[in-house]
């Protein structure tokens, strides 16, 4: 990242924080429902100091990684099969979209039924939250591959799994990245939702506790952590991959 990008970002976020502080000074809302950035920062510092924050982050990240891996692997496979076999698209494909309209809160009972109050249940809800974004993006990306590219590969003998791994996926990859990025964001969201409903460790649990204790600054602090991790991973993982792929295709 070039330093002027960093500067722009710093300026942007500084401006955001200042407007927040200004809004706080304006005193439109009472402090109990609209805390100042300072109070939030204090809460963050406290959580960091006593370690609960890091424990929460660690727990959540582990679940996230497992859930996201399942979502990406499953979504990729499903999306590719939907794009290549119309019978899959016409049956399971239509169902996927329907399932995706269901909010996580409605998945929780099923998760409890199948997995009990375990990590597996939370991971299930996480994966369900993300799989569709990956599926539909993979589907569309594969559908949109230039047919002559596929024809050329088949003409040279590529078929079956080899066609998928060495042609369909790389050819669709620049677009699939969008699906993975979304998968990540939605998995994160699904996870927090699940932790919140399961009330079972992790950042979502901390968020819920803040809510239950009506500690708005704690809630906002945790939300900032959630956002921050989301942004860091996006910047350090997905943006990097994207930049690399795009430059290879001459699109950067």
């Amino acid at each position: 990242m070039k330093s002027n990008i960093v500067t722009k970002r710093i300026v942007f976020y500084l401006a955001l924080i200042l407007s927040w502080q200004a809004l706080d000074f304006a005193n439109i809302w009472p402090d109990q429902i609209f805390p100042s950035p300072l109070e939030v920062a204090e809460d963050l510092a406290f959580g960091a100091a006593n370690g609960s924050l890091f424990y929460g982050i660690g727990t959540s990240m582990l679940r996230l990684i497992i859930g996201l891996t399942i979502a990406i692997a499953g979504g990729l496979a499903l999306g590719i099969f939907m794009a290549r076999f119309s019978v899959v698209n016409q049956t399971i494909g239509s169902l996927v979209l329907g399932l995706q309209s269901i909010p996580s809160i409605a998945w929780v009972p099923i998760a409890i039924l199948w997995f009990g109050l375990t990590d597996a249940g939370i991971i299930f809800v996480t994966a369900i939250g993300a799989i569709f974004a990956v599926t539909i993006n993979s589907y569309t990306s594969v559908k949109n591959i230039d047919p002559t590219i596929i024809a050329a590969a088949q003409n040279m003998g590529a078929k079956g799994p080899q066609l998928i791994s060495s042609v369909l996926i790389p050819a669709a990859f620049p677009y699939m990245i969008a699906g993975f990025r979304q998968g990540w964001a939605f998995a994160w969201r699904g996870l927090i939702g699940a932790e919140l409903l399961f009330s079972f460790l992790g950042l979502g649990f901390l968020l819920n506790v803040g809510r239950q204790l009506n500690d708005v600054s704690q809630v906002i602090a945790i939300m900032l952590v959630i956002m921050g991790i989301g942004m860091l991973v996006d910047g350090f993982v997905f943006k990097k991959i994207e930049r690399k792929v795009m430059s290879r295709w001459g699109l950067a």
Binding site: V108, G116, S199, Q218
Partner: protein, 320 residues
């Protein structure tokens, strides 16, 4: 050989909320009263919840054995499982809810409710039933049935926000929310809910067990009940220390505490008891049914209480 527990289980999974009304569970665990009674071989798994229906769900799904939960979800769960899945084995708390008016609402007593917006937590929870029944009693009809009173069902923290913004005129909420509305937002406590009940008491938290668990581990349940009763007595004997234990628990769990004034007043507004106050549970069911919460087929609560064990423990403690 009373120290030897013969049971098929070596773990008890207990559900409760990190709330004031659930202090028996919290204090019993923190002071290790349960551990002592059950012995070292039995592991206690604490499962923390924040919604009654979800506790029932988990109970159905065989994910918990014993739960501290309100009468609304308990009645629902009993009926949904056709009386199969759960039993009330003791009470845990009585009272602890209030009707609080917004300072600008002009509500001084209950006579002025027409045209007002009143909040309660989730549909069919204990406060919601009480509020809707109360409106009925005062010949007021809710907006969705063509009446003039707007009942808003929304989570307690959101009630707080709406109250602070002045978007609602009153709220029927449990502790510590009622006290927070009063102390922090200048709300006016119109009345305590128990004032509307015979003897000023009604069950607000119950101790419930999964039927199968009860059947297979009678000794374990016995021990739990003994500890439950002991903890209840300890709490009533040591109110100040209870507040500290409770706040320490919050701190340990979440890194957060409630202001001591709020804890103190909240505790003084509710009564920790092992009495399930059976009549109040039955009354709740009647009210819930008349509100249409108990389904289209009518209801039958026969066998919801399983208090034999509690009664014999009570006798023993009274005798001893």
């Amino acid at each position: 050989n009373s120290n030897q527990i013969s049971s098929s289980e070596d773990t008890v999974r207990v559900a409760f909320f990190p709330n004031i009304g659930h202090s028996t569970a919290i204090v019993g665990l923190e002071k290790e009263i349960f551990t002592k009674k059950l012995g070292d071989e039995i592991k206690i798994e604490a499962k923390i919840f924040d919604s009654g229906p979800q506790v029932i769900e988990s109970l159905f799904a065989n994910s918990i054995d014993i739960a501290y939960v309100g009468p609304g979800p308990t009645i629902n769960g009993f009926l949904k499982s056709h009386g199969q899945d759960l039993k009330i084995i003791a009470g845990a708390a009585s009272g602890g809810a209030s009707f609080v008016a917004h300072p600008d609402s002009g509500l001084d007593d209950a006579n002025d409710l027409s045209g007002k917006k009143i909040a309660a937590p989730q549909i069919s929870n204990t406060q919601d039933i009480s509020l809707r029944h109360y409106l009925d009693q005062n010949n007021l009809t809710v907006a969705e049935k063509g009446g003039t009173v707007y009942v808003v069902n929304i989570a307690n923290p959101d009630i707080y926000t709406l109250f602070a913004k002045g978007d609602i005129d009153a709220a029927w909420v449990p502790e510590p929310w009622a006290t927070m509305l009063v102390q922090e937002l200048n709300g006016k406590r119109v009345f305590f809910e128990e004032e509307l009940w015979p003897d000023e008491k009604f069950a607000s938290v119950l101790l419930v067990a999964r039927s199968d668990f009860l059947l297979q581990n009678p000794v374990l349940v016995d021990r739990w009940l003994e500890a439950h009763v002991e903890t209840t007595e300890w709490i009533n004997a040591n109110p100040d220390e209870t507040e500290i234990v409770f706040n320490d628990y919050l701190k340990k769990l979440t890194g957060k505490t409630l202001p001591p004034e709020i804890i103190h007043e909240s505790f003084s507004n509710l009564h920790i008891t092992y009495d399930p106050i059976e009549s109040s549970v039955l009354t709740f069911a009647q009210r819930a049914d008349s509100l249409g919460y108990l389904g289209r087929q009518g209801y039958d609560l026969e066998g919801i209480f399983e208090l034999q064990q509690l009664n014999s423990i009570q006798e023993m403690t009274q005798n001893g």
